[in-house]
C-alpha cells in the first residue's frame, strides 16, 4: 500500500483533512474524497477546463495538480458559490437567465473561471470575457449565451455594489 500523507485544505469555507497518496490528483480528491462532484473531468490533457476550481484566489485546473500541492490552501468549488442560505450567486443567476448552459457539464468550470474573471475585472468587454473563459471548452452553447450570462452577472454585481455603497453613504 502506497504511503499516504495527511493534508488539510479549506474547501468552500470548511476545513477538510484527509490522508492521501502523493499521486492523487486534486480533482479526484475533490470529487471522491470530499464527494463534491460538481467539479468535472472532461479530458486528459489539461485542455477542457471542466475541472476548474479557485485555489488561493486563482483558478487552477484541478486535474493537473496533486492534492498534496493544495495542502494548507483554500479552495472554492462551484458548490461554494451560493450563500449558505441558498441564495444563488449573480453568475449562477446569469447563466440561468441567459440560457448559458445546455448539458451542464462545462458549467461548473465556466462559473469558476467567470468568478475569477469578474473579481479581477468587474466590467469586462465581450472580448475580455471570451479570453477569460478561453480555458474552458463547451460543446453545446457556442459560448454566445455564456458571454451574455457573464455580462448579466457583471451588471448585477455592479448594481449591488453601487447600491451597497449608496446604502453605506446614506448610513454615514
Amino acid at each position: 500500500m502506497a504511503k499516504k500523507q495527511l493534508i488539510t485544505v479549506k474547501v468552500n469555507g470548511r476545513e477538510r483533512e484527509a490522508a492521501v497518496e502523493a499521486r492523487l490528483l486534486l480533482v479526484h480528491f475533490i470529487r471522491e474524497s470530499l464527494q463534491l462532484t460538481g467539479t468535472h473531468i472532461g479530458c486528459d490533457t489539461s485542455h477542457c477546463g471542466a475541472c476548474t476550481v479557485v485555489l488561493n484566489g486563482k483558478t487552477v485546473k484541478s486535474c493537473t495538480m496533486f492534492a498534496v500541492q493544495a495542502d494548507g490552501g483554500e479552495i472554492l468549488t462551484v458548490e461554494g458559490l451560493a450563500s449558505s442560505a441558498g441564495q444563488l450567486h449573480a453568475l449562477q443567476e446569469g447563466f440561468k437567465q441567459e440560457h448559458g448552459l445546455q448539458c451542464g457539464f462545462c458549467t461548473p468550470g465556466m462559473l469558476m473561471s467567470s468568478y475569477a474573471l469578474l473579481h479581477s475585472n468587474p466590467n469586462p468587454s465581450e472580448e475580455e470575457i471570451r479570453w477569460g473563459i478561453s480555458g474552458n471548452l463547451c460543446r453545446c452553447t457556442g459560448y454566445q449565451n455564456i458571454v451574455s450570462a457573464v455580462q448579466h452577472a457583471a451588471a448585477k454585481m455592479a448594481k449591488a455594489g453601487s447600491e451597497a455603497n449608496l446604502a453605506e453613504g446614506v448610513a454615514k
Binding site: C43, D44, F105, T141
Partner: protein
Amino acid sequence: MIYKTSPEIGGMGHSVKRKEDLRFIQGKGNYVDDVNLPGMVYGQVVRSPYAHARINSINTEKAKAVPGVLAVITGEDLAKANLAWMPTLSYDKQMVLATGKVLFQSQEVAFVVAEDRYIAADAAELVEVDYEELPVLVDPNKALDSGAPLVREDREQKNNHIFHWEVGNREATEQVFQSAEVRASVKAFFPRCHPAPLETCGCVADFSRATGRLTVYLTSQAPHAHRTVLALVGGIPENNIRVISPDIGGGFGNKVPVYPGYVCAVVASLTLGVPVKWIETRSENLQSTGFARDYHMMAEIASDRDGRMKALRVKTLADHGAFNATAQPTKFPAGLFSICTGSYEYAQAFCEVDGVYTNKAPGGVAYRCSFRVTEAAYLIERVVDVLALELKMDPAELRLKNFIPEDKFPYKSSLGWTYDSGNYEGAMKLALDRIGYQELRKEQAEKRKKGELMGIGISSFTEIVGAGPSHDFDILGIKMFDSCEIRVHPTGKAMARMGTKSQGQGHETTYAQIVAQELGIPAGDVTIEEGDTDTAPYGLGTYASRSTPTSGAATAVAARKIRDKAKKIAAYLLECNENDLEWEPGKFFVKGAPSKSKTIQDIAFAAYTNFPPGMEPGLEAVDYYDPPNLTFPFGTYICVVDIDQGTGEVKVRRFLAVDDCGNIINPMIVEGQIHGGLTEGLAIAFMQQIDYDESGNVQGGSFMDYLLPTAVETPHWETDKTCTPCPHHPFGAKGVGESPNVGSPAAFVNAVVDALSHLGVKHIDMPITPWKVWKVLQEKGVAA
C-alpha cells in the same frame, strides 16, 4: 389549432427559462461518474497499440498480482461465456475484447478491475500482450484491391466490402447526363471527425446478488434500446435489467452505440457481485468510440446553360473502420444520405454508396449528423456552388432558380423521399436581405481590385429528421416510434415521462411546455422524467433530431386524450352536454356563458373525487406515436469570411443562420441549439480531423491534436427564422437540433472557395486549416 397561452402557462412560443438549470448551476447534476455506490470498484481497459496484429498470447499474471486487483478479463475469458463478440446496431458484430487479432489502434484487449482507479491503472500497465504485426489497411480506396489486407477474417465473405447500396434510376439519370449542356462535378471528402461531448462515455454496472437485478447507470441516448440489447447479448431477463441514463453531458450521437467497456463492466459486476464503474478517458473516447463521417464523395450535376438543373449523380465510398457499428435504420446502410438532392428539383437522380472495412475505429453515424444527412447536405451545397462557378452565375440566383416551389409540397424527390413542407425561397430571401447580400458582393468586387480576399458562402440546406415511420424504419428490428405517459395529480399538477433522453436539449422544459400548451397546466407545474427504463415508457431515444417529431408528438396526443376525458368530466360538473363546451388553455366553458367554467385543476380534482358514474377514475394517458412521415427542417445560412494573406487564417466576419423548423416550442432553446451546432460546424470546417498514418497510428487522439473551438475562435452567430409548419405533426413542429451542423460546413467552405474562386480555385477539402489556405495562396501567387 394552436392556442396562445399566457406566459404564466408557458405553452408554445414562450422562452421559458429551463427547469433543469437549477441543479447544474449548483454543481448538483448527476452524471454517471458522479454515481457512487457502496462497495463500488473500478474498471480500466487495456488497449492495442497496433492497428492490425495477431495476438499470440496475453499474460495477465503480473497484473493480477497487484494488491487491490480483483480481476483481469481477456477475450478468451469472455469467449467461454460467448461474450467475446457482440452484435452492433448495423447487424454486424464487434469484438468486446480482442480474440485472435486486433483490428484498430486502441481496440479493447483486456479489462482490469481494481479497488480504485489508480490501482487499475497500475495493473493495466502490467498486462503483457505478445503481438505479431500484420499489414495495415488505412486507405479505403485500396480496401477493395485484390492484394489488400483482409480486415475481417470472421466473415464468410473474404473481402473488405461491407455493402453496396443504391437508389434512384441509374439509366435514366445517365441519359440526362448524355444530353446535358453543362456538367459540373466535385470530389468532396468529409473527413473523419468525432463529436467529443464534454462528458466521455462510461457506466456503473451494478448487479445485486440480493435482488438478482442488474442496474446499469449508463451514458446512453437510448436507454430502452440499450436495455433490450443487454438482455439479448447478456442473456439476462429484460425485467431484471434496469438502465438509468441520469444527466448526460452531451451526446451528439457518441452515446448511441454499445461500447465494449459497458459489456466488460456488466460482466465484471455479474462475476464479482459488486458495482463496477468504468469511465473512459478523453483519449479513449476519441480513439475508440463512434467517430463521424469519413465519406469520400463524388457528385455531378447535369444542367442546361441557363442553370436549370436536370439530374444529379452521386457516388460515395464509406470508410466504416474495423466493424460496421454505425447506428442505422436497418433498410438504410448509408442512413438518410439520399436526401442529397437537397432543396432542388431534379428530374432524375441516382445515388450509390459502398461501405468498406479498414483498420480504424468503428462508427460513422455521430456528431449531429441526422443519419448521414450532414454528408449529403455538404455534398449538394458544394456541387451546386461548383455549378454556379461553371455557369458564371451568382450562387444565390442559381439556387433560387432551382428550389422546389412552395406549392409543390408534399414533394416526392427523385430519390424517393416525400418532403412534408418547405418554403426555401422565403428563407433564402430573408437571409440575403438580412446579410445585405448585394452590398457584400459590391464590397467583394472592390476588394478583389485591391488584391484582398473576401468570400461569401451560401448553404440552403434541407434536412430529414424524426425517424421514423414503422413501415420503413427500425433499429435491430425495433420500430422507431416514441412515447409519452402523462399523469395529472388531484391538485392539478402533472408528471410526464417519455422514451427519449435529453443530453442538454432541455426536455424537462420543452416537454412541460407541450403539456402546458395542450392542457393549460402551467409548465412549472409539470415534472418531466426520462431515462429510467423501469419507469419511462419504451422509446428509441434522442438522436437524429427525433425527440420533438416523435415523443413531442406523443406528448401532444397523450395530452389530447386527457383533454377529451377532461371535457367529459367538465360536462358532468357543469351539468351540460359535451358539445356545449368550448376550450381555452386551462379551462372548459359553456358556449355563450363564459362564467360557467371549470379549470383543468378543478377537473383534475374531480377525476379523483367526483367523476361521472361509470367512468374510470384518474386522469392519465399514454401514447406510442408512430410518425406518418419524417420531417424536413430547412434553412439558408450565409457566411462572410476574410482571408489573412500572411497566415492563411480564415476569419469568419459574419454568419447568419435562417432556420425553419416549423412551429417552435421554446425560441430561446432553439437559438441555443443553433449556436451550439454552428460552433461544431465551424470546428469541422476549419480544425478537426481524426487521421491515421500509414501504420494505422491515430493522429488526433487527444485534445492536443483534435481541436475544439474556444470562446475566442467562435464568432458571434446571428440567427433568424421563417416558419413553415409540418402538416403531419400534431403541433406542426419539425425538430432542429442537427440543422446547424447539417447546413453550416458547406456555408464555411463555400465562403472560402468563393474568396479564391477568381483565382481558379473550385474546391478545398475540410478541414480548411491555415496551412492549406496558405499553400493555395502561395500557389496562386497571392500570399503576403
